[in-house]
Amino acid sequence: MKVLVPVKRVVDYNVKVRVKADGTGVETANVKMSMNPFDEIALEEAVRLKEAGKATEIIAVSCGVQASQETLRTALAIGADRAVLVQTDAELQPLAVAKLLCAVAKKENPTIVLMGKQAIDDDCNQTGQMFAALMGWAQGTFASKVIVDGDKVSVTREIDGGLETVSLKLPAAITVDLRLNEPRYVTLPNIMKAKKKPLEVLAPDALGVDITPRIATLKVEEPPKRKAGVKVPDAKTLVEKLKNEAKVIQ
């Protein structure tokens, strides 16, 4: 059973994101980048499936700039067997990524595609769902537990009311949530081994996918600074302010 794990290169979660001066986007030059944390969890799950003897091969895929190779090297060090980079400098929106992943999936024939529920840069939470729809596969989103059993996979989902468990027919797409597992630390021997694992580079054209953005970004700006709070002398004033100023109670 092959497992495909898409991984995205994003601004590191420790970095304080800044908007570019011209308002066209977020500053990424000279900013520390790393693997989207949700993708790390997806990859960890894939490695556990392999260690449990359920998966036979793990393929990490990334779509984006050449430097995404670094992210793929990390994926290989975590435990992917080989990597595919669909390389482009163009802006990629979720639908384009979903289509590229479809093209790769059709080549590779994975049984499961395990991916992050969203990327921490744009927080779209769309690619997994779009991918499953385009493939005509079952989908289990926001997984906090994944159990593969024969030609089925049971996915426990984190939903508003609590947990929901669905049983999907394979092949299926699964997007993972934070509580699924705790990713391991990369070991030194695995970093060394990763250097020798295959990393294939493809062009979107060669996959026959049109990646032209469908949505135009007009402007990106910083969220308004939070105004300083005020101290109120007593509960009565608080209630008054909530009624008359904030107008949140009646």
């Binding site: 420790n14 030059a29 000279n30 790393s34 670094e70 090297r73 990390t74 060090a77 630390y185 990369v186 070991t187 030194l188 021997p189 695995n190 970093i191 060394m192 250097k195």
Partner: protein
């Protein structure tokens, strides 16, 4: 919460742009150690250090290691972290593949070790000592001994110790009394029985690993007096059976551990050998050559302790910087409506810059020496190897002495930035100073390093290597003068004055060593400091030159982080004005200061 983020940007700057990673990747056996691989290794180790080791630093200090009836328990979490550390393969990084290591060069192991030490100096001492013991076995161990011990030690499943010090033998190891008597018990093969007491043994006993391999200096019955009569032995806590399994408990016990000023989590043990029928020990190399072997290993051990100075400075700086941005106190001297974050006050800036500049200078010097250690070991050309070895030998006492002394100073400034809170343990700033304090003492005090520098490394060879170093610095000065940039010119002038002071002192020392050796030794530590300051300045000046070139390229449309390079030049300028400027004063101390040092007769004290 005092956290730590590995300074990967500055580390890779030094590795790639100051040392030049290709000068290492070109060495036989290092072909695969490319810059991108090194960065990946640093990132993963940085993550492990910040997330696993750093959070244990302060609790480890509070709890400390504890002793009960011969057993030592390390603080909560240490055992699990150690297991993760060895499972991650970090212990094996620089050791030969033959014994399960990755065989990576020092230019990689140095930043990796720096991270572990910054995150948790007490923790990092355990692998440091294991590393020392491994080096000794690699150097002189018999094949059988190597096969028996090295794979487990390289993995980290067994740890190592260095048993040198005795109550009457600290700086002067010639006074060692522990005895080793040849024995014939067929059960243990060719062996000795050891009897004696060792003190101050780091990780002499602990609960992190299933076996502890002690390297012990001792005298055989017929050994000559003094330094020529000391041999090196290996004494395992548990005897290792032929099949590699653990056998009998050896006759070596931990009698107690010390209550100390710092590194509380690192147990410092009193070890008793041969309370019953003698501890079974195996000779390493030949009899009576133990100290000689120690001297060969000394470079690595002293280098590693020097790195503690860099590591503590970095951690103290990060803590102080975070506080300075948060703490609101006093208005801006140039006027402000309200109180401002203290980072705006010129004096706080000065303190932060001093920490930043010293840390970067020390790091650059340390890594440049690391690279020379690699070249001295691996370069195919003999002359090239010799040239780098001479540089390493000259720099080791400087890196050990200056970096650790500076580490204490920086940790102290870190406290000052915090004001009253720095003195309060909760902040964590005080721990860095307490921990840093040991580094100028073990592996040879600063006084011993300075003796080594002025004696063996300078006077004995007539100042040959010093002259080569000075010549190299002069070339950098010329480059700075020709750059046609006001900051670089100023740095060059300051470096020039420093180098002149260094040259003058080196000449004075070589000239007076025979005639007035006391006078030379009276100025040995100030000379060591002067050498450190000037060599640190040399690296900062080189960094400024690199940064200037990079900025010019960026201005012409090239890629790169302009803010980083601008900061490098600013930091180098600060170093030139505030640190290199001390060189003249130190020169006066070295060439004139002896008369005051020896002015009083012993009875006058």
């Amino acid at each position: 919460m005092p956290d730590y983020t590995a300074p990967i940007r500055d580390m890779t700057f030094v590795i790639d742009e100051l040392v030049g990673m290709d000068s290492i990747s070109r060495l036989p056996g290092c072909e695969e150690t490319t810059s991108d691989l090194v960065t990946q290794i640093l990132e993963e180790c940085g993550r492990f250090s910040s997330e696993v080791l750093a959070p244990l630093n302060q609790p480890g200090d509070r709890e400390g290691s504890s002793f009960d009836n011969g057993k030592v328990t390390t603080p909560a979490g240490f055992k699990e972290a150690y297991l993760q550390f060895i499972q991650g393969g970090w212990n094996a990084l620089q050791f030969p593949a033959e014994f399960g290591g990755q065989g990576l060069p020092r230019i990689v192991s140095t930043p990796v070790t720096e991270m572990c030490k910054s995150a948790n100096m007490s923790f990092a001492l355990c692998p440091l000592l294991t590393g020392g013991a491994i080096e000794a076995l690699l150097l002189r161990g018999a094949e059988e001994i190597k096969r028996m011990f090295l794979p487990k030690m390289v993995e980290g499943a067994w740890t190592g110790t260095m048993n040198l010090t005795e109550p009457q033998a600290g700086s002067d190891l010639a006074l060692i009394k522990t005895r080793a008597v040849p024995a014939t018990d067929p059960e243990f093969g060719s062996h000795y029985r050891l009897f004696g007491q060792k003190i101050f043994i780091t990780y002499g006993e602990h609960d992190l690993a299933e076996n502890i391999i002690h390297l012990v200096l001792a005298r055989t019955p017929e050994a000559p007096e003094g330094v020529k009569g000391i041999s090196l032995f290996i004494v395992p806590k548990f005897i290792v059976n032929k099949d590699g399994s653990l056998g009998k408990r050896n006759d070596v016990q931990c009698a107690s551990i010390e209550h100390k000023m710092g590194i509380h989590a690192s147990p410092t043990a009193v070890m008793l050998f041969g309370e019953k029928d003698g501890a079974v020990g195996y000779l390493v190399g030949e009899e009576n050559r133990g100290l000689e072997y120690m001297f060969i290993m000394m470079n690595a051990a002293r280098f590693a302790v020097g790195l503690e100075g860099v590591a503590i400075s970095e951690r103290a700086y990060q803590r102080a910087l975070a506080y300075a941005k948060e703490r609101i106190q006093s208005r801006d001297v140039a006027g402000s409506d309200k109180s401002v974050p203290i980072i705006r006050h010129p004096d706080v800036r000065r303190m932060l810059m001093s920490m930043k500049a010293h840390t970067e200078a020390m790091r650059a010097l340390q890594y440049v020496v690391a690279a020379s250690m690699d070249i001295a070991r691996l370069h195919p050309d003999r002359d090239e190897r010799r040239r780098h070895q001479a540089f390493v030998d000259f720099m080791i006492p400087v890196v050990k002495g200056w970096n650790t002394e500076t580490g204490i100073e920086m940790a102290s400034i870190g406290i000052q930035v915090h004001g009253g809170m720095g003195f309060i343990e909760e902040t964590g700033a005080a721990q860095y100073l307490r921990d840093a304090r040991i580094a100028t003492i073990y592996e040879g005090t600063t006084g011993i390093q300075a003796n080594d520098l002025v004696g063996r490394k300078l006077a004995r060879e007539g100042g040959v290597t010093a002259k080569v170093v000075i010549g190299t610095i002069r070339a950098v000065e010329t480059e700075l003068a020709q750059a046609g940039n006001s900051a670089l010119t100023a740095i060059g002038e300051s470096l020039g004055r420093g180098t002149s002071a260094l040259a003058e002192c080196a000449e004075w020392i070589t000239g007076n060593y025979k005639a007035d050796i006391r006078a030379v030794h009276a100025g040995a530590v100030p000379f060591l400091k002067l050498t450190g300051i000037v060599c640190g300045g040399w690296q900062m000046a080189r960094a400024a030159l690199v940064a200037r070139k990079k900025l010019d390229a960026i201005r012409k449309g090239g890629d790169g982080d302009a803010a980083f390079y601008e900061a490098k030049i600013g930091t180098a300028l600060f170093y030139a004005d505030h640190v290199l400027s001390q060189a003249g004063g130190l020169r006066d101390v070295v060439v004139r200061g002896a008369r005051g040092v020896m002015a009083l007769a012993e009875e006058q004290f």
